[in-house]
Symmetry: C2
Subunit: 310 residues, 2 copies
C-alpha cells in the first residue's frame, strides 16, 4: 500500500502569452507525489539544494507526502527549468535547464522507501533507475518513465531497465522512438516484448492508451477549456495511475489498471488548470471522484444494434 | 432513412514506402458512400469524366449505392490526386492535384437526392454546399466537411453555410483554425455558436471527439497495427457516422450520436487496412458489428470507488 517515487525536484520558471511565474515548485517526483498522495502513502526520493526550504517541504507535507528521503545537498542549488508555452499550449520551448544538484544525483533509499510495494522510477538516467529497481526487492509493481535523451544516448541501458519493470509510462512519440516503429500499436507490442506487462502511452491533449498482453484500453483526455500550464501533466498522470495501483489490496488486473488510467487522467486534468502545483494544493478527493465519474460518462456508449441493411 | 452525399469522385495515386498504386477509386463522396451504404440507402452526387467507367460504377452499385446523380462530363477527365505517405503514415505529401471536371462542378440534385432526410456536404466550395443545403428542404439532419483552403479563402461563406447545417465534421486542426482558437473545447464551443447542434472533431490516429450543446463524447481510434493507406479515412468516418444517423427512425439524441461515432470509427479503421476502397469492397456487416462491440469493450471502465485516503 506504500508508494515510492524517485525523480527530480525542481524550481520551474514558466511563461505563457498572458502570464509568467519565476519560481514554481516542480519536478517529476513532486508532480507525481502530489497526485499519488490522494490515493496512497507516498515517499519522495530526490535531491534539493539550499534554496529548497520550509515553504516547499510544507507543500508536500500538507498532502501527507513523506519527505525524509529528500536529499539536501549542502551548498547546492535545486534543479531549475525554464520554459515558454505558445498560445497553443501544446507547443513548448525550453529556455533553460540547470541540472545543479540533480547532475550528480545517486538515489539513496531508506528502508521505508525500499520496502514500498509500488515504485515509480521517474525520468532519470536509466542506470540509476536500475539501481533503484534492484534495491526494491519487495515491490509488486514497478513502473518507469524516460525521455528522448536517454533513448538517444543510453538506449541499451534503458532497455535493460525496462526488462526489470512491470510497466512503462511514456509519451507515444517516445514509445515509437524507443523501438523505431511509427505505428503505436506495433511500438507498444514491441515494448511489451522487452519485459513489462503494461505499456501506457501518454498522448497529451488526446488522452492515453494502455496496452497489456491481451488487452487495449483507450481513454480521451478530460476536455478542459482552461489549460493554464501543462508542466507536469505527464508526471501527475503517472502519480494518479500509480497511486491507484498502490491503493489496491487485491489483484492488479485489467479492471484495476483501467480505473488507474482514469485517476491519472482526472488528476492530470486538474494539474493543468493552474500554474505549477497550485491546483493540486487546493484539490479535494470529492473533486477527483466527480471527475473520474464524469470521464466514465463522457466515454460511455452503446452500440444500439446494427441497423438492418446488407 | 435516405442519405445523399455531395462531393468529389476521384482517381488517386498512392505511394507508401513499400507499395504504389496508380489508379485507385477514391474521392470524398465515394469513400463516404461505401461506408454509409452499410447503414442507409445512399445517393452520390458528383462529377466524373470519360475515364470513369463500368468498373468504377460497379464498385458503388455492388454496395447498393445509387449512382443516378453521378454527372458524366463528356470529354472531361475525373478528379485526380496523387500523394505519398511516409513510413509514419501520419505524414502525407500531396504530389499532384488535378481538379479536372471537379473544377466547374455545380451540383445537380435529382428529386430523389433532394428528398433525402439526411445529407452530407463533403468538402467542396462552401457556396456550392449552401446551394445544395437550400435545395434539400426535407432534410432533418445535414452535416458538412470542409478544409483549410476554404477557411483561408472563403471563410465568410463557410461560416454562412455552417449556420445552415446541424453538424460540422472537421479535423481538429481545422476546427481550431476556423475560429482561431488553439484549445479544442473552446474552438468546438465557438463553432456550436455559429449554428450547428453537433460538432465532431476528427483526430486521426487518436480518434474523434463530439461536442453538443450540453455534452462531450470522446472515442479513441480503433488500435490497428496494419495501416496500409489512410486516404479517405475521414470521409469513411463521416459515412459511418451519417449512415447510422440516417438509419434512425426515431429521435437523434446524444445516445444515437455516440453510437454513430462508434460506427464511423469502426468503418474508418477498416478503410485504412488496404489501399483505396479495397477493404470496403470485402467488408461485411458482421465485421462492422464485431468491431463496434470491440470499441465498446476497449473503452469501458468502472471507477472502482475512490480509495479511502484524504
Amino acid at each position: 500500500m506504500a508508494l515510492t517515487v524517485v525523480g527530480s525536484i525542481a524550481f520551474d520558471a514558466v511563461e505563457t502569452p498572458t502570464a509568467r511565474r519565476d519560481r514554481l515548485l516542480g519536478g517529476s517526483a513532486v508532480h507525481f507525489a502530489l497526485a499519488s498522495s490522494f490515493l496512497a502513502e507516498t515517499r519522495v526520493v530526490g535531491p534539493v539544494g539550499d534554496d529548497f526550504g520550509d515553504a516547499e517541504y510544507a507543500v508536500l507535507r500538507a498532502r501527507g507526502v513523506h519527505t525524509d528521503d529528500i536529499e539536501h545537498v549542502a551548498g547546492g542549488t535545486t534543479f531549475f527549468w525554464a520554459g515558454r508555452y505558445e498560445r497553443d499550449v501544446n507547443v513548448r520551448h525550453t529556455l533553460q535547464t540547470d541540472l545543479n544538484v540533480f547532475e550528480d544525483f545517486r538515489p539513496k533509499l531508506s528502508a521505508a522507501s525500499r520496502e514500498a510495494d509500488t515504485v515509480f522510477l521517474a525520468n532519470i538516467q536509466p542506470d540509476l533507475q536500475r539501481e533503484v529497481r534492484e534495491q526494491c526487492e519487495a515491490a509488486r509493481f514497478v513502473a518507469l518513465d524516460s525521455m528522448n535523451l536517454w533513448i538517444d544516448i543510453a538506449r541499451e541501458s534503458l532497455v535493460r531497465t525496462i526488462g526489470l519493470v512491470d510497466c512503462v509510462i511514456l509519451n507515444d512519440g517516445e514509445l515509437k522512438q524507443l523501438v523505431d516503429e511509427p505505428n503505436l500499436v506495433r511500438a507498444a507490442r514491441a515494448v511489451l516484448r522487452l519485459g513489462p506487462s503494461v505499456v501506457v502511452a501518454k498522448q497529451g491533449e488526446y488522452g492515453a492508451a494502455m496496452f497489456t498482453e491481451d488487452g487495449f484500453f483507450g481513454l480521451p483526455a478530460y476536455p478542459t477549456p482552461d489549460v493554464v500550464d501543462p508542466t507536469g501533466a505527464g508526471d501527475t498522470f503517472a502519480g494518479g495511475f500509480m497511486g491507484f495501483v498502490a491503493a489496491q489490496e487485491g489483484e492488479i488486473g485489467e479492471e484495476q489498471l483501467r480505473a488507474a488510467m482514469a485517476y491519472g487522467t482526472a488528476l492530470a486534468s486538474f494539474n493543468v488548470e493552474a500554474f505549477g502545483t497550485e491546483r493540486m494544493q487546493t484539490l479535494t478527493p470529492a473533486e477527483i471522484s466527480a471527475r473520474v465519474d464524469e470521464l466514465e460518462r463522457i466515454t460511455r456508449f452503446a452500440a444500439c444494434g446494427f441497423p438492418a441493411r446488407g
